[in-house]
């Protein structure tokens, strides 16, 4: 495919080797998406000036609506921009290598743990801590949810449907998405994004 046409504003080219090392570095960043994003911004925008600030933000914005992790989408985008289809493979591999290797290593550790007496200690250590981390993840997602708003109502209904009626969460999620498309559209007019009806 015509991979080289996309370098509209970008001054510097990024070689395949650099592509690999940049995304490997990003893949080693802690802090989830934002940690990775910070590394990419630093390497591609600040240091190399291979991508302009606007372009970076635009690509991030598009990446957010791609049905994979946003960072996975960014690896595809920059891999493609600088190296065509093979570039995407290089960027994806580099980004995913650290997390994949660590994940498998820790899973193998679980198998050993399972056959040892330490396994009986998991229910009072890692397991409750993990549940707490899931709660934290939910709290982070829902900044708008925990005050009187349409969002709160939808979240509560979703909870009730899943917990009391035992409906399939996948179906609830789809319904919530479709409902959101109708009632949670952001009104793009200046600061009037949140109308005052939220508190009533």
């Amino acid at each position: 495919m015509k991979s080289d046409e996309d370098k509209r504003q970008s001054g510097t080219r990024v070689t395949r080797g650099e592509l690999f090392s940049i995304f490997l570095k990003a893949g080693l960043a802690f802090g989830g998406g934002l940690g990775i994003l910070a590394v990419l911004e630093d390497e591609l925008v600040s240091k190399r000036r291979a991508v302009t600030k606007e372009e970076f933000l635009t690509i991030y914005g598009i990446g957010r609506i791609v049905p994979s992790g946003t960072m996975t989408a960014l690896a595809v985008a920059y891999g493609y921009k600088f190296g065509g289809l093979s570039g995407t493979v290089i960027a994806l591999t580099a980004l995913s290598l650290p997390v994949f290797v660590l994940t498998i290593a820790l899973t193998i550790a679980y198998h050993y743990l399972r056959n040892s007496r330490l396994f009986d200690l998991l229910p009072v250590t890692i397991m409750p801590a993990a549940l707490a981390l899931i709660v934290v993840a939910a709290l982070k997602l829902g900044k708008d949810v925990f005050r009187p708003s349409r969002e709160l109502v939808i979240a509560c209904v979703a909870f009730a449907l899943a917990f009391f009626l035992r409906l399939n969460p996948a179906l609830i999620l789809l319904a919530g998405g479709v409902l959101g498309a109708f009632v949670l559209q952001k009104i793009e007019a200046g600061n009037a994004t949140e109308k005052k009806d939220a508190s009533k």
């Binding site: 996309d6 893949g27 960043a29 990775i36 635009t58 690509i59 598009i62 957010r64 609506i65 791609v66 049905p67 994979s68 992790g69 996975t72 960014l74 595809v76 493609y80 994806l92 650290p98 994949f100 994940t103 498998i104 820790l106 899973t107 200690l121 998991l122 009072v124 250590t125 890692i126 397991m127 409750p128 801590a129 993990a130 549940l131 707490a132 981390l133 899931i134 934290v136 939910a138 997602l141 829902g142 939808i154 979240a155 979703a158 909870f159 899943a162 917990f163 399939n168 969460p169 996948a170 609830i172 999620l173 919530g176 998405g177 479709v178 409902l179 959101g180 498309a181 949670l184 559209q185």
Partner: protein, 173 residues
């Protein structure tokens, strides 16, 4: 559950949640833990913990689930299932920029996010009823919440302290 079916489920859930790791928890809990019973709640929680302590993308814990069920082939296939949809990025880059500003897409992702908050909390209560049978577990859970939410401690420190707390309580009571 065959590897093929597992892959399909993971691919589907990943696309539905836009690759959000935590949001996949209720879906995996319902289908793999309660439905097909191929995974225990412990295994799901352990896999999620891995995602929290590793660098990189937050939805890669499905590789752990793939490994638990089918070994290395399971891990690789599960990973491909969540990575390949990223290629949607290429056609989007080539002329669908306006989608980003679409109010419908905006509302859709907002709706998914908000709904998933309710679903995640429902899954947590569900799992907690089965997994937190000892009072010590509740102490550790609350301590972890305090350390992350109020004290804003680093995740690795939090997990280490939570583990020590659980062990201390277990051995001293």
């Amino acid at each position: 559950m065959s590897l093929w079916r597992l892959t399909l489920l993971i691919a589907l859930f990943n696309v539905m949640t836009f690759g959000n790791g935590p949001v996949m928890i209720p879906l995996l809990q319902t289908h793999l833990v309660e439905g097909a019973r191929v995974l225990t709640a412990d295994q799901l929680l352990y896999a999620f913990t891995i995602a929290r302590v590793t660098p990189g993308q937050a939805n890669f814990y499905v590789a752990s689930i793939g490994y638990m069920l089918y070994g290395m082939p399971g891990a690789i296939v599960a990973t491909l299932a969540i990575v390949l949809p990223g290629y949607v990025m290429i056609p989007l880059l080539r002329g669908f920029e306006h989608l980003r500003d679409s109010r419908w897409i905006n509302g859709l992702t907002k709706g998914l996010t908000v709904t998933s908050v309710g679903l995640i909390l429902a899954a947590v209560v569900q799992i907690a009823r089965g997994a937190l049978t000892q009072p010590i577990a509740w102490v550790v859970l609350i301590a972890t919440l305090v350390m992350t939410q109020l004290l804003k401690w680093n995740i690795l420190v939090t997990l280490a302290v939570a583990t020590c707390l659980g062990l201390l309580l277990k051995w001293s009571l």
